[in-house]
């Protein structure tokens, strides 16, 4: 008899403190990870999930320390494998609320394959990818999201790698929920994570995160307070895509390509109306291509949110269907399911 059988327990009222473990947080002072941790710890009391049902799974990297700081169940696993480990957990325990915390190196380099497949299978996971465009824990090599030409210890003459756009990647991997937020705006961060958590299936959230030690200011071009209005393009479901202090800029689609244009010139009717629920991810993808990196106007918010059965439910349904059709498995019957014969007692 499992300790988990029996009537569900009431969900107690909690505060941020209840979700904070007794472990000393060991990120560098000023690291963007602090504000993401705070946002998650503030959000969880509002979600109505019992603490014992929450599991944080991470790989390796600065971001991967995250589970230690949460007073929940958690696994700090090995480099890149968190989506795979979390998949096994989520599929075998659909009752749990499983989160994956990964980084640009962990999730897009060594563990890229697992991330892609968790997304396409629509495993019920809330996946946070802290993108700081650098390897932090190994002290500053270029990552798969570093801009081409980046000079680091391992690329003294400039990186030759074309970077990934994580949102484009997730959309291409059949993700049903794709969003982007950043560590400088707690409200937006919490709102985005809340949406991700509500989503049934794999929810992918790219979080721009400042690594003040090895890549300080990587996002300043769009995130510093005076630049945000002109450089963050908020995606609002059902609304035309526009931005700027006076909302003077908008996004139009020409030949399937998204382009920024002055609203005064093209007219409001010409703007793309954002719809998260479009089955076809092409428009979301076009929006994700607006900026080649976080240096020019960049959309944030929910790019895509569509319904598709989550993987664990499909697995459970198949089992239930098999049991309905064939009855609960019977071991003695299984052993006799091949060709059998009797050998009698010899006289």
């Amino acid at each position: 008899m499992s300790v988990l059988d029996g009537p569900p327990l009431e969900v107690p009222v909690t505060t941020r403190k209840d979700w904070t473990s007794d472990q000393e947080v060991r990120w560098c002072p000023g690291c963007g990870d602090y504000s993401i941790l705070a946002a998650v710890q503030m959000l969880l009391p509002e979600l109505g999930v019992p603490r014992e049902n929450v599991v944080f799974v991470s790989g390796i990297g600065c971001a991967a320390r995250f589970p230690y700081y949460m007073e929940t169940y958690g696994i700090h696993s090995i480099h890149g494998r968190a989506p795979a480990i979390a998949t096994g957990l989520a599929v075998s325990r659909p009752d749990l609320d499983v989160w994956v915390v990964t980084g640009d190196g962990d999730g897009l380099s060594i563990g890229g394959n697992h991330l892609l497949h968790a997304l396409r299978r629509n495993v019920n996971l809330t996946i946070l990818l802290f993108n700081n465009q650098i390897y932090g824990l190994t002290k500053g090599q270029f990552s798969p999201t570093s801009e081409a030409g980046k000079v680091t210890k391992s690329s003294p003459f400039g990186s030759l790698d074309q970077p990934f756009n994580p949102v484009s990647l997730a959309l291409g991997a059949e993700a049903t929920f794709v969003a982007r937020t950043h560590d400088m705006d707690r409200k937006h961060l919490m709102a985005t994570l809340r949406r991700a958590h509500e989503h049934r299936g794999a929810a992918f959230v790219e979080v721009y995160q400042n690594c003040n030690v090895f890549n300080d200011g990587a996002f300043d071009g769009i995130l510093s307070r005076d630049r945000r209005a002109d450089n963050l393009i908020p995606l609002v479901d059902g609304e035309p895509v526009r931005f700027g202090a006076e909302s003077e800029w908008g996004v139009v689609l020409t030949d399937g390509e998204a382009r920024i244009a002055p609203v005064a010139e093209v007219g409001e009717e010409a703007l793309v109306v954002h719809r998260e629920g479009r089955e076809d991810p092409s428009v979301a993808f076009a929006l994700s291509r607006l900026a080649a990196g976080p240096t020019t106007p960049t959309p944030i918010g929910v790019f895509r949110a569509v319904e598709r059965p989550d993987y664990a439910s499909l697995v459970s349904d198949q089992i239930a269907a098999a049991q309905n059709r064939q009855g609960r498995g019977d071991l003695a019957g299984l052993l006799r399911s091949g060709q059998t014969w009797e050998v009698a007692e010899r006289r």
Partner: protein
Amino acid sequence: MGADGTHRLQVHAVEQVVVRLAGDSGDGMQLAGDRLMVSSARYGNAFATLPDFPAEIRAPAGTLAGVSAFQIQLADHPVRTPGDEADVLVAMNPAALRSQLRYLKPGATLIVDSDAFDERNLHKAGYADNPLADGELVGFSVLKVPMTSLTLAAVKETGARPREAERAKNFFALGLLSWLYGRPAAVTLEWIAERFAKVPQVAVVNRLAFQAGLAFGETAELVEATATVAPAPLPPGTYTTISGNTAMAWGLVAASELSGRPLFLGSYPITPASDLLHELSRLKRFGVRTFQAEDEIAGVGAALGAAFGGALGVTTTSGPGLDLKAETIGLAVSLELPLVVVDVQRAGPSTGMPTKPEQGDLLAALFGRHGEAPVPVLAPRGAAECFTMAIEAARLALTFRTPVIILSDGYLANSSEPWRLPDVADLAPIPVELASEANATAPDGRAVFHPYQRDAGTLARPWALPGTRGLEHRIGGLEKADETGDISYDGANHERMVHLRAAKVAGIAAAIPHAVVDDQEGARLLVVGWGSTAGAIAAAVEGLRRRGEHLAHLQLAHLNPFPANLGDVLRRYDRVVVAELNMGQLVSQLRATYLVDARLISKVQGVPFRVGELTEALLGELGSLAQSTGVPERVSTAGEVVA
């Protein structure tokens, strides 16, 4: 001589017979062999089989590379190997004949589809002249049967298209063999009717072809006598035929039932382990969750994640996959979670020979991880024992909270033997205790949960499943402080943890059976094997004893930890010889662990030991032991003694 000049088949009543069927991979030889096995089993014979198929799915038809063979030994007494050389070969084309001649006994009987010996096929097989005509087969009894045309004629009435009709010639061959050895035809006829119930046309074609083969035997008068292999005296009970892979899959299901832990399989297809994934994927009615992962790493990762959630997590693979899983197995060692890893070994290194067995992964299983990462290792000694070893692996994993590796191999996986079914009620339950409450007191007096507070007996840590209120905890691959499980970089603590993990695995020796020797009065030589070589070694030992030699045999199934009495056992004999299908992996461990001067009989040809070559090698050892005065030489390859 027959009327057409061919030899008449001379067959006598025999204690055992070894039959080999060979044809193109598309010819259905595995199926025909399988049916011969089942009808023989039902007839009451003891048997053992060896499928031998190419790695390519469909190599070009008619070529040597595309030959697929199946060997079966039928006997009136228990047998443990498919036999060394065949008494009878059924060859469906020239390539099959040419590639298989070396597996035959002198004077063996060849039954060939003479229709297939046309110029094109002869050329593809590399024959300049027709071997059926040019005397190349002198010394064999050759039975030329136009199987293709006889099959076509037999099924003509059904209006089946020629290609479809031709495909049934394996059933013609099966019919002929069934007549030859007096196999019960009803068993096969019933099976055809059942198997092809949904495609009546195919059922009729196969039935007619089978009956034509039977009738041909009876009426063609090409043979003077049929063979009789009497039923074997098996212990009473209900029997089934079982292959190692099926037995392993069923054992895993049984372990799940016995422990009450749901079974989760994370796996990536790989030869020869894929059938484990296939079989378990069918067993959803047992609540089995199978996950075909994106790669080997994800397969084991998902299994470990499921184990964190309380499942019996299992991953299945073969050599290359074991390499890829190494890091995650190390994580499981550190997390101290139950995990079963099945490695169906194949010839390596690298891709090696995917369909060919080898015992090359023992050291990888024991040591193939960085750091001090001990893992229990088990090796089933027969197809049926895969069932009990799967349960044993789960028992150890669940009890001691550790990954356990099972080393099967391509031979065990695919070979079949009769299995007396156990009574399910006799299978011992696997008790699993889950943590349900705090187990320690914090300095401030609060009751807290320490995930690395160990059980004093097993040294296992508590298993607290997510969903259990109050036991929230974090674990990871970083070194943990003893008891609390907090991250710790303290050197003294690390050393303590390394020793604790080692002591936990070593302590399993108290929970496994002692090594039991098949001993003999006066034996000075002990031959040691492990895993799948059990049958061949036992047969060689029995044969030598019948010749008046004295020797003892020990077949190990527990390779880490070794049985507690192993050192004493080894020291009882003047000479210890280890026979294994590798370059000496077990022997190195026995020498290192027990300081015994164990010697080696090695073979790495991608095929199991033959009884004959083992007999020769052991005779050499016995001879040199009889004369030995000083330091003996080491044996390197089967039968060949080098300094």
